[in-house]
Structures are given as structure tokens and as C-alpha cells.
Amino acid sequence: MFNLIQWTIKQEDIESYAHASGDHNPIHTDAEYAKKAGLPGCIAHGMLVMALGSRAIDEWCAEPLTSYDARFQAMTYPDEPLAIKGSWIDEEAGKGSVTIENEAGEVKMKGFFTVKR
């Protein structure tokens, strides 16, 4: 197991990500729009959650990625405390897994990666 990383995405992080990435789907930045779409409020971009996963992998392994695969399993809300967990599947082959979940254990993203060996 790699060391656990705790993280909370703030609404301003989501806005900063929308600006930097060019992903301006209003569901992420306009609470009224998000409510009209049937959500309790704005949600984080799945790709921001995936980027937190790659940041964690970089911290754990510090080797260049050769592949990174993520499945988005639940929506991530601003101010929701997250736990980023990871472990090797096959260390020799550079294969590992990364999971991002909330305090209740709801999995937001399940990912697999390989690093250069």
C-alpha cells in the first residue's frame, strides 16, 4: 500500500480547473444550472479527480506513466473529504491501482496505471 493522501476539492478549485482546462460545462460552475439538471449543486470534473489520482501516483512512484485508466463511479462534490489510496498490483512490472473515495467509502474513481520499468 502507498501512503494515504487526503484531499478536499473546493469550489474555487473547480473554477480554476474549468478555466485552465477549457471544460466550461456549467454543471461544474453554475449551481442553479446544476440544480436544474437534477443535482444538489455543482460537481467536480471527473478529469480533475483523475488528475488528483495522477498527482498521487507521481508522489508514490516518481516514474513516468505509460498508461493510466480511470472509471468514474460516483459524483464528487466540493468540500467532500476524499481519500486517495493506492497499491502495487505487480511492482516488478510497474502496475498499480489508485482509488479515490469519500469518508463513507463511496468510490468516486477507480484507476489502474503502469509506470516505466
Partner: protein
């Protein structure tokens, strides 16, 4: 629909200031010279494949779109200053109950060689819950 069909292509010059802004937004280490692992999404959005353009091409309702999965294969390193040609393909579109699944594959070419391959599934979910 199962065959691979080209949806869109664009050329994108990677600007250092955009890479730096993205690194800051995703809390990535500043010491790495290569673009961050998920930076290809910036190339798509800034290179002309905006969220609305994509939903229009897929004939999706923009208020009902869910990103199901995303994967990347990193073949050649990509750096700020590189010029990338991206070709976006739709590799499948299927419907199940109130959901439509579109599989996309994008090849990012640097100096005539494939540098990154992206595969994603975008879902249009009609019903009481939209993402």
C-alpha cells in the same frame, strides 16, 4: 454503430503558459518537464473540440452528459512547445435503457508519430438524474 469513424481533427501548439496554468489547477509538481498526464483534455477543449461541439457531434443533450471512463496510453513524451495533430474517432455508440454510450478514441500525433492515445466513454443519461 461499431466501426471506427473520424469525428474531428485539429492541430494544437502546446503553450507553456497553458501547461503551467493547468499544473497549478491540478496541483501537479512543477519540476516535471513533460505535460501532465491528463493534459490531453486541454488540447481537446482548447483545440476546438469544446464540450458543446462534442455534445453536438454526438447529438447529446449537454445537460445529461456523464463521463464514464477515461484512459491514456503514453507512447512518446510530449513537452510544452510541441505541435500536436489530434484525430478524434468515434469507435462505437450503443443504447441501453435510458442511456446512450459513445466510445471515443483520440490519437495525438507528434512529428508524424503517435505520442498519446486516449480512449473514453461518454454517456448521455436521460431521466431523473443528469450529470
Amino acid at each position: 454503430m461499431k466501426e471506427k469513424t473520424e469525428l474531428y481533427r485539429y492541430v494544437y501548439k502546446i503553450e507553456e503558459k497553458e501547461v503551467n496554468a493547468f499544473k497549478q489547477a491540478v496541483f501537479a509538481s512543477d519540476s516535471i518537464q513533460e505535460i501532465p498526464p491528463t493534459f490531453a483534455t486541454v488540447m481537446d477543449f482548447q483545440g476546438g473540440m469544446s464540450f458543446y461541439k462534442l455534445t453536438e457531434l454526438l447529438q447529446y443533450d449537454p445537460a445529461c452528459v456523464l463521463h464514464g471512463s477515461q484512459s491514456y496510453e503514453y507512447i512518446k513524451p510530449v513537452y510544452p512547445g510541441d505541435q500536436i495533430e489530434a484525430i478524434v474517432y468515434i469507435t462505437g455508440k450503443t443504447m441501453k435503457k435510458n442511456m446512450t454510450f459513445a466510445k471515443l478514441e483520440t490519437t495525438y500525433i507528434k512529428e508524424n508519430e503517435t505520442a498519446i492515445i486516449s480512449r473514453s466513454v461518454l454517456i448521455e443519461q436521460k431521466g431523473d438524474r443528469h450529470v
